[in-house]
Amino acid sequence: MTATTETTARSAEKYRVTRSRRNVAWTGAGALIVVIVLALFPYIVYSSTTSIMVQAFIILTMACMWNLLAGYAGLVSVGQQAFVGLGAYFVLFLNIHNIPMFDALPVAAVGCGVAALPLWWLVSRLRSGYFAIATWVLAATVMLIIEKFPSLGSGTGESLPNTPNLGPTLLLADTYWIGLAVTVVALVTTYLMLRGRVGLVLTAIRDDEIAARSSGAKVGLARMLVFVVAGIGCGAAGALLAVSSLIVQPSAVFSVEWTAKMAFAVIIGGLGTIEGPILGTIVYIVLQQTLASYNAWYLIILGLVAMLIALYARRGLWGLIDDHLHIRLFPVGYWLWAPGSGRRGGMGSLGGLGRRRGGRHS
């Protein structure tokens, strides 16, 4: 009894546990500045740049969600286009009923979250590959059902009937700000989720599912939560897609290419890290813009790079950066400071065990 207390006292005296090696306040301030600068973009850059940025927001929001699914919950979904399409169609449906399209966006996102529940019930008992294709079949089924409504444009789609009466520049700027807001909410939600108790369960699943289960982690519940959150996020991205293109076509919004794009962005950036999707989206947009005149080449190159990274650098570009520089913009793990450690190399034995994953418990 005394011995235990002594040990605890001693370790409290010698070991220190922080969220990050560096002060988080700086990252927070930096993120705030970045968001403010991004918010000012419509005033300072050309509208061509803003419309590229809207695409980036769409991809980044989706990538955050796919990262939660595949990177943390171990759910490789190839059917996220179901939610992209549903989000877009919710906006179309509400817009037809005279609800302004920007107001329809959050409703559409929530609607997708509700729709995720029955879909989860259908696929929840499947694992790995079976889950992957079953979600794909679900997306195809959802598209076929949506196409049965003539009021929603059947198989050819429909333009949004009630677009705000703004000039093209102002409309684009509004879309941009909404897109920025959606992306920030997606990133903050991901961060908070992973920082909290659910994050602990998810990180445990990511590292070793069997160990997580045997430690009593509620794996099924955490997975359902992630699936619903990913439904909301992908739905919001789909709603954004509808708002930015002002037209909803079933074959475009339900295309499996959306899942390919979000997955490739995450894998290239770094699966299972919050920063990965951001980096991956940048790579995606740069490649897409440079190879824009070569049709599908950017997808081929992205696919090949993603395959190589999945095989040879599992934690993606951010993993490589993290391994060498120990930077983490969104610290969700813990950093153990060994007794008497100085500014550098503050890894205790526990940190040493976590070395494989970048030197800390994340």
């Binding site: 992957a132 294709i133 599992r314």
Partner: protein, 291 residues
């Protein structure tokens, strides 16, 4: 009478779907992973057949004699390199890599072979004609031939797995990889052989798809992969006869669906798939879920 016709047509189409599915079923049985590039590889088989016919002028129906070995070699090579490397890491990596492969193949075909549809036309009049049973039922020789081929392929695979040396090795590795390895089996080579056989059936599926309808770069994911998967799940995971049954159930469901409303065939097929997923997740022939 109309319903009888639907069921017969459905059974005939089911043979095609079973042919799509048996490679997927075999590889899952052996390696416990799903190849998300399955459908696109079948489409590659179709394009290879087009090329082989253009170069050698073999009759379309006999093109499989060349296409199947080509695809089998491709399968062995792909398995020993990319897929094995992914398997060595994790199931997640395998899914990501095969999904990447699927997107790369599809867009590569779009880039190099355009989005145009192709078909493998047969000029042989016996094959393109049909015979009738009664007044309303028409049976196309081609679909009948494909159903027969599917049954022969499944019989052949069953015999191969149960009686031949390599079949025993494949089953041994599938049952317990480590024990097989300790007995001196090179599991990577065995996986390669299994992949070669699976790709051979994929080549047949590609040719059959080109014979019955048209194919384009997107056919692989739009139809072949999803139908193959639906057939495997409906029939029961890991059973080849189950796969044939699943293909037939899917085919009949699609026929009856399109009878009710001409555009609802696919939807009816998927609804049956989802119903099986909910009510009998182990499939029609399966004893317990292996998910």
């Amino acid at each position: 009478m109309q319903w009888v016709n639907d069921i017969i047509q459905g059974i005939l189409t089911g043979g095609l779907y079973a042919l799509f599915a048996c490679g997927l079923s075999l590889l899952f049985g052996v390696m416990k992973v799903i190849n998300l590039a399955h459908g696109d590889l079948a489409v590659i088989g179709g394009y290879v057949a087009l090329g082989v016919i253009a170069v050698t002028h073999v009759p379309v129906l006999w093109s499989f004699l060349i296409v199947v070995p080509i695809m089998a070699v491709l399968g062995y090579a792909l398995q020993r390199t990319v897929i094995q490397a992914a398997l060595n890491r994790s199931i997640l990596t395998t899914l990501i890599v095969t999904f990447g492969l699927s997107v790369v193949i599809e867009n590569g075909l779009l880039q190099f072979a355009s989005a145009n549809s192709h078909s493998l036309g047969v000029n042989n009049s016996i094959i393109t004609s049909s015979f009738s049973i009664g007044s309303q039922i028409q049976v196309a020789y081609l679909l009948l031939l494909i159903l027969v081929v599917a049954v022969v392929v499944i019989l052949g695979l069953q015999y191969f797995l149960s009686a031949s040396r390599y079949g025993r090795l494949i089953r041994a590795v599938a049952d317990d990889q480590e024990a097989a390895q300790m007995s001196g089996v090179d599991y990577r080579h065995v996986f390669g052989i299994a992949a070669a056989i699976a790709f051979g059936t994929v080549a047949l599926a590609g040719i059959a798809s080109g014979l019955t309808s048209q194919f384009s770069p997107t056919t692989g994911t739009d139809t072949i992969l999803l139908f193959a998967f639906a057939a495997v799940v409906i029939g029961g995971i890991g059973s080849l006869w189950g796969t044939l049954l699943g293909g037939i159930v899917l085919g009949v469901a699609q026929q009856i669906g399109s009878q009710i409303n001409s555009s609802d065939g696919f939807l009816a097929g998927y609804i049956v798939f989802l119903a099986v997923l909910i009510l009998r997740p182990q499939g029609l022939t399966g004893r317990r879920a292996q998910s």
